[in-house]
């Protein structure tokens, strides 16, 4: 039913278009809610302000030492980093095959880089699946969407790993599966928890702006 030409072209582009349109609608929906106004005069330490607060807040993701929850669980933090690098690499792989390499195999060094990152992300995905099912706390907060999103991405990593050579001779089905799953992923993203990165700038901006104005962000720790 699907050939490589179709999944790399119209199917992939169509999925991308759907994702973009739904994203735009989603953002429009979010911005229709009025932002709460802060009238209070600045408080707290004089060496910070709203601007510093939201910059710190945005940068928080790259500062594992900033939060106790990451500082004390570095193993989880590095899982987070690898997993998200894996998503980025798999998307890049999809785009580079669709728009650049097409029928040419991916050069060995690049393929290895993709495989290392995506392979590690797959392993993290498996660990995360085990944690989501095994931890009482995580299980209690997990919805079918949480489980499905994680399974979908982990499986996608597996096929991305296998498809990374972009070599039809090695088995076209690997590429076909990678692209079909990638398209499902793109269409599913805006409806699922995976769209969290769309909200991240908003939530962290408002929190950072408010806590910066109140002298709380950047959090200072004194030992």
């Amino acid at each position: 039913m699907f050939d490589l030409e179709f999944v790399r072209g119209p199917l992939h582009d169509g999925a991308l278009a759907v994702m973009t349109i739904v994203y735009i609608i989603r953002l429009y929906w979010l911005t229709r809610f009025m932002a709460g106004k802060e009238r209070q005069a600045p408080t707290g330490r004089g060496d910070t302000n709203s601007r510093k607060g939201f910059i710190y807040s945005w940068g928080n993701v790259g500062m594992p030492w900033a939060m106790e929850s990451t500082r004390t669980k570095l193993f989880l933090y590095f899982q987070f980093v690898i997993f998200h690098l894996g998503v980025t690499a798999a998307i890049l792989l999809m785009f580079s095959i669709s728009f650049y390499f097409k029928d040419t195999p991916i050069p060995l060094p690049l393929m290895l880089a993709f495989r290392i990152i995506i392979g590690a992300a797959f392993v993290v995905g498996v660990i995360r699946i085990i944690r989501r099912i095994g931890s009482k706390y995580i299980r209690a907060i997990s919805s079918p969407d949480d489980h499905f999103s994680l399974w979908l991405l982990t499986a996608w990593f597996l096929f991305a790993y296998m498809a990374a050579a972009n070599n039809v001779a090695n088995g076209e089905w690997k590429l076909l599966t990678f692209f079909i799953m990638g398209s499902v992923f793109l269409v599913y993203v805006p409806f699922s928890k995976i769209s969290h990165y769309l909200y991240y700038p908003f939530t962290r901006y408002y929190l950072g702006k408010s806590l910066g104005r109140r002298g709380v962000f950047p959090i200072k720790r004194f030992r």
């Binding site: 706390y137 969407d145 928890k193 909200y199």
Partner: protein, 587 residues
């Protein structure tokens, strides 16, 4: 067939739509259920293995309603994203148990969430929605009512407030006849000082200590005659109208008396409500500066307006950051700087500042007696933190934390005391006495020793001391007798009632937990008996967590309330205050 929804459930859903703003919606949609916030919550740490205390689990109780009604995925595929509506009043009760009983809105999970999800903010929203349909813990309803109707959250009447300030002025003037005491409603003061009603009711010493400091600094200050409460139960109940109303009253009062600056006494939620959230709730820009009294006192010392001698505060101290001060207002450094100036031995508590753990009395928890066992259990984390400091005295800049910590110290049997910076600063004050100019031929005053002066203080009063601890009865009786009172003793509830009827005391001290009839029953019987109802009662208890049981009664509240352990000065001070307010003047 569509499921029927109760009137209240429908109202909650309708009103949720009106409360949503971009910040709240962002927090409601952004959670990825990663669980990173789980062990930042003291409830989780104290209840290992129970996922219902996890911040994300609690947040989902609110999030599920939002998703079902306001988010497309939840509308289309509710089961897929755990979207769930509210139908019955039981659903509302269940939500109440979570948003009031399992979260103190401390914001510790907020600062530990990589996505920036601010659970405390939408938990407050959910509280407000429930309050709007009358679903709330009884204590929240009582306190909110008092703040709406009487103007302060402890229902202190204007005459009692003024009487207390005048009485404190007299006390100060007895010590120092030149003391200006407490100026009330002075126009164009540089500082308008606003307080927590708890200070009037249970802890007048914090008011007189602040007054002594203002006067020593030569400050042109005043306290408002009304609209003086800087606390705001709107923060806890989630009722923005109450929040705005209370803040506006105080702001307008400062403007009316042309005050130049509003100084807020040491209180975390009061500071946050007045200084930070007040203008937002009141939807008004405030034309005068506002600051915490901690900043004011620090400035006095740094500028040399007052001098302190830290050796007057011996002992090992630690500092507890109130969540509202530290995580929502950034007030972390000034209290430490001030503390180091007034004591020698300061030991930091870990974690601290914005990462500190809640005293567990936050978010209005002290007024919700139904959740007391849960609160005390969750306090294990704080108790361990306190213990690890090895300190004898924990200092905090929050009245709520004073009560919360006092409860924990008793419950976990820690050998510690709680105090506030204002008490330490006043105690460390060095007041330079003016050089006395000898006056010729002045008749020598009759010499009265301090013991003799004190001995007169309670002379002529008959006081009934009711407590089941013989040692405590002996201690209080001795103190009262040394001050001139006639003391009658009772060791259980039945005996207390019998003695009250027989002896008709001028005042009665009452323990809450006693054999026979409990202090609560005794108190209720006293108040309902025409003959005994007018006897002023001072509760003296080692179980402050039961305080609410007394205040929840449908009878006139007790005239005084003191936590054990209690020292001699506090006994005399509190008894005198009650007698003086009750009968006019101490005999």
């Amino acid at each position: 067939m569509a499921k029927e929804r109760s009137y209240k459930a429908q109202k909650v859903i309708d009103r949720m739509g009106k409360k949503l703003n971009r910040q709240i919606v962002g927090s409601l949609v952004a959670c990825v259920h990663c669980g990173n916030c789980t062990d930042s919550c003291h409830y989780v740490l104290a209840n290992p293995g129970d996922p219902t205390y996890a911040p994300a689990y609690k947040a989902d109780k609110i999030r599920s309603i939002f998703k079902r009604h306001f988010d497309w995925t939840g509308r289309l595929f509710p089961w897929w994203v755990h979207a769930k509506s509210l139908y019955t009043d039981e659903d509302l009760e269940e939500l109440k148990d979570t948003v009031f009983g399992k979260c103190t809105n401390c914001r510790r999970c907020t600062i530990n969430c990589p996505m920036g999800v601010d659970l405390a903010t939408f938990n407050r929203m959910a509280r407000g929605l429930l309050v709007s349909v009358g679903v709330m813990p009884e204590g929240v309803s009582v306190v909110s009512k008092d703040q709406w109707e009487i103007g302060n959250q402890m229902g202190v009447l204007k005459e009692d407030y003024i009487d207390t300030l005048e009485w404190l002025t007299e006390e100060m003037q007895m010590e120092d006849p030149k003391s200006p005491g407490i100026p009330i409603d002075s126009m164009e003061a540089d500082v308008v000082y606003s307080i927590n009603p708890r200070e009037v009711k249970y802890d007048p010493r914090t008011i007189s200590d602040a007054a002594i400091i203002f006067n020593a600094a030569g400050e042109k200050w005043t306290m408002p005659a009304e609209d003086w409460d800087m606390t705001n139960f709107g923060l806890f109940s989630g009722d923005d109208d109450l929040g705005g109303g209370v803040a506006r009253r105080l702001f307008e009062k400062v403007v009316a008396i042309k005050g130049k600056k509003l100084v807020i006494s040491e209180c975390g939620h009061g500071y946050r409500s007045t200084r930070c959230e007040g203008p937002n709730w009141a939807k008004q820009d405030v034309s005068f500066p506002m600051e915490s009294s901690v900043i004011t006192m620090l400035e006095y010392i740094k500028s040399g307006k007052i001098k302190v001698d830290k050796s007057k505060n011996p002992g090992k101290f630690t500092f507890h950051d109130s969540c509202n001060n530290a995580r929502s207002c950034g007030l972390t450094e000034e209290p430490r700087e001030l503390l180091r100036l007034v004591c020698d031995d300061f030991q930091e508590m870990y974690p601290n500042r914005a990462e500190n753990f809640c005293c567990t009395g936050g978010g209005g928890a002290m007024s919700m007696s139904e959740y007391t066992p849960r609160r005390l259990k969750s306090g294990k984390v704080k108790a361990d933190q306190l213990k690890a400091t090895g300190a004898e005295i924990v200092v905090t800049s929050c009245h709520n934390c004073v009560d919360g910590l006092t409860d924990l110290i008793k419950h976990y049997k820690l050998d510690m005391k709680v105090t506030q910076l204002v008490n330490l600063v006043a105690n460390a004050l060095v007041i330079e006495k003016p050089v006395e100019v000898p006056v010729e031929e002045v008749a020598a005053p009759v010499e009265v020793t301090p013991t003799e002066v004190e001995a007169l203080v309670l002379k002529g009063y008959k006081i009934l001391v009711a407590d089941d601890e013989p040692d405590f009865v002996t201690f209080v009786s001795t103190v009262l007798e040394d001050n001139g009172a006639e003391v009658v003793k009772a060791y259980d509830g039945n005996q207390a009632l019998e003695m009250a009827r027989k002896e008709k005391p001028d005042l009665m001290t009452l323990d809450i937990t006693m054999p026979g009839k409990s202090g609560i029953e005794v108190f209720e019987i006293l108040r309902s008996d025409d003959e005994l109802a007018s006897i002023p009662v001072c509760i003296m208890t080692g179980k402050p967590e039961l305080r609410q049981l007394i205040y929840e009664r449908a009878v006139k509240p007790p005239e005084g309330y003191v936590d054990k352990p209690i020292d001699e000065d506090s006994i005399v001070l509190n008894i005198r205050k009650i007698l003086e307010l009750d009968k006019g003047k101490v005999k």
